[in-house]
């Protein structure tokens, strides 16, 4: 489990991960904050439904894709945490959110 080397801090950010409140610090990537919260699996792959998590932490591997504030395929290692963002695992391929219809895809 990832832990902070300097636990003392004044600055805290809180965001939502699938309904749970997660604490983070300014400058954390979403990926780092989730790892510290003991969340290692960020998505399930579109073809085989396999679990994946962050891998390169530099925006090159595209394995850390999550749904952030409703938008899919966001690289969690490239997005910094901010107060109140909503983060969720991306399960399978990105879904298109169509406001004019109900949630059944064709």
């Amino acid at each position: 489990m990832f832990k902070r080397l300097h636990p003392e801090t004044d600055d805290e950010i809180t965001f939502d991960f699938e309904g749970t409140s997660i604490s983070a610090r300014p400058g954390d990537s979403v990926a780092a904050a989730l790892l510290v919260a003991n969340i290692d699996t960020f998505r399930e792959t579109p073809v085989r439904g396999h679990p994946r998590g962050p891998f390169c932490m530099m925006g090159a591997c595209f394995d850390c894709l999550m749904v952030i504030d409703g938008e899919a395929n966001q690289q969690a290692c490239q997005i910094l945490v901010s107060d109140g963002i909503k983060v969720a695992r991306q399960l399978g391929a990105a879904k298109i959110i169509n406001d004019s219809e109900t949630d059944d895809e064709l």
Binding site: F2, D28, L35, D40, V47, G53, C61, D63
Partner: protein, 470 residues
């Protein structure tokens, strides 16, 4: 706003190039995809405290003067700018603030650095398995680390990060070293020249001693690795020349077997590249000033060939001096004079390179796996068997393979499978890797939203208030 030079990448090469060019009177724009400068090696350097210096080491702190000089120059710098294209006509496309923009300049310096070589072992896609560079990034950027991890692979970066962990007081379950013993013979002829940098070699030995003295198990001559786990990594099993499969429990495993130039942008820009059989990677063809085969585009830093942070800084300076001369701000003699010192620095940094490249050359079994179920293309979830099955119909090369089975078609665009696929085809068709070739890369080299392309502002290609976007 019209620029003489656009620099892409704010690592040591990019910062040095921008600083030098700007100091010399050129109008420079620097684009970088991270929020703060430093690239990979000097990540978070501006907020590094003294406590970090002890953990991260002198090589890291060497970035401070580079970034200070960069900031002092007041160059137009756009962080969080994701460059998705550089055309042969030097039209740079980038996304910033959710909007795609185009900007051109007579000169572009690509300083996009390196990525870690793929490390396709069974189980490498399980959550909990990361590259050693990822461990280092988490340490530098967020000050986080995990107890009881395993560091596995070969190369200086592996030992460096392990040592950084230990200095931070974080226990490591083991360092499993896959450096092939057989490399030593091939490395010896390069040793005399490398001794010009005995300081580097001695430093490496000190790192290894530190790791040993900490009581961390250091297992050498590992010849095979597998990550075991169901939904996430649970342990690493390894074999060495002397022992059969052993297991070490760990939920986090950091892999590393060297770094290679990140060629996606340089290839998509149409630059000629050549295969470096010593470093087992593609490099853009550049002349003594970093100029590529495309007029007006130069390459500096690890993106031109692996050399490390200080070599990158020197390369950036040299490329910038070349640009200053090309745009008439320096005459030929003055540019030669100014380039003398960085050239000496570059040479100094490269003395040990041939030796290190030979010593740490990853085993071919680690570069191209043998187990059928090993994932080769992470994005498209293709296994070794999937790819082998596609190679059989008189396959022409990696591009036909890509079109037949989708290897390399995912968002990473081959960054983590291209070299593996190339060497796999070489092995299966018994051709030299250099002749097999690589995926043909095209823009966008990073994804961008459809709406960004639809909203592209085309009219003004000279600049789009780029410098004001901060």
């Amino acid at each position: 706003m019209s620029y003489d030079l656009i620099v892409i990448g704010a690592g040591p090469a990019g910062m040095a190039a921008a600083t030098t060019a700007s100091t010399g009177g050129a109008k420079v724009l620097l684009l970088d995809d991270q929020s703060t400068p430093g690239g990979q090696i000097y990540r978070a350097i501006e907020t590094a405290k003294d406590a970090e210096a002890a953990i991260l080491g002198d090589e890291y702190m060497a970035g401070q003067p580079i970034v200070r000089a960069f900031r002092a120059q007041g160059i137009d710098y756009v962080p969080d700018a994701v460059v998705w294209q550089v055309s042969e006509e030097r039209e740079v496309g980038y996304s910033s603030g959710g909007r795609a923009k185009l900007i051109s300049a007579p000169w572009v310096i690509l300083a996009t650095g390196a990525i870690e070589r793929p490390f396709p072992i069974p189980g490498w896609t399980l959550p909990g398995v990361m590259m050693a560079g990822a461990a280092q990034t988490l340490l530098k950027s967020s000050g986080v680390a995990t107890e009881g991890a395993i560091f596995a692979g070969c190369g200086p970066l592996l030992y460096l990060v392990a040592r950084q962990y230990l200095r931070a007081g974080v226990n490591i379950a083991a360092v499993v070293d896959t450096t092939p013993k057989a490399n030593r013979m091939g490395a010896l002829p390069h040793l005399p020249h490398a001794l010009l940098r005995w300081d580097l070699l001695a430093k490496g030995r000190r790192w290894i001693s530190e790791i040993r003295r900490s009581g961390t198990p250091l297992i050498q001559n590992a010849t095979a690795l597998k990550v075991i786990g169901d939904k996430a990594a649970q342990s690493l099993v390894y074999k060495t020349a002397d022992v059969d499969w052993r297991e070490i429990k760990a939920t986090h495993i950091f892999l590393h077997q060297g770094i290679v130039p990140n060629v996606n942008l340089s290839m998509a820009a149409g630059l000629d590249h050549s295969w470096d059989n010593r470093q087992l990677c593609w490099r853009p063809l550049t002349d003594a000033w970093g100029c590529s085969s495309v007029s007006g585009i130069a390459v500096a830093g690890d993106g031109a060939g692996i050399g490390g942070g200080l070599a990158a800084e020197a390369g950036g300076q040299i490329a910038a001096i070349g640009v200053l001369s090309a745009v008439g701000k320096l005459d030929a003699q003055a540019s030669r004079d100014q380039a003398r010192r960085p050239r000496a620095q570059l040479a100094h940094e490269h003395h040990a390179r041939p030796f290190l490249d030979a010593w740490f050359r990853p085993a071919s079994d680690m570069r191209v796996p043998n187990e059928d179920t090993t994932i080769i293309c992470r994005c498209e979830e293709l296994t070794l068997k999937n790819i082998r099955d596609t190679i059989d119909i008189g396959l022409a090369g990696p591009n036909q393979l890509k079109s037949f089975c989708r290897a390399g078609m995912g968002p990473c665009q081959g960054r983590f499978c291209g070299l593996t696929v190339q060497e796999l085809i070489a092995r299966e068709t018994k051709r030299p890797a250099a002749l097999v070739g690589y995926y043909r890369l095209r823009p966008p080299i990073k994804p961008l939203r459809l709406e960004e392309l639809a909203n592209l502002a085309i009219d003004d290609l000279e600049g789009d208030d780029a410098g004001q976007d901060r």
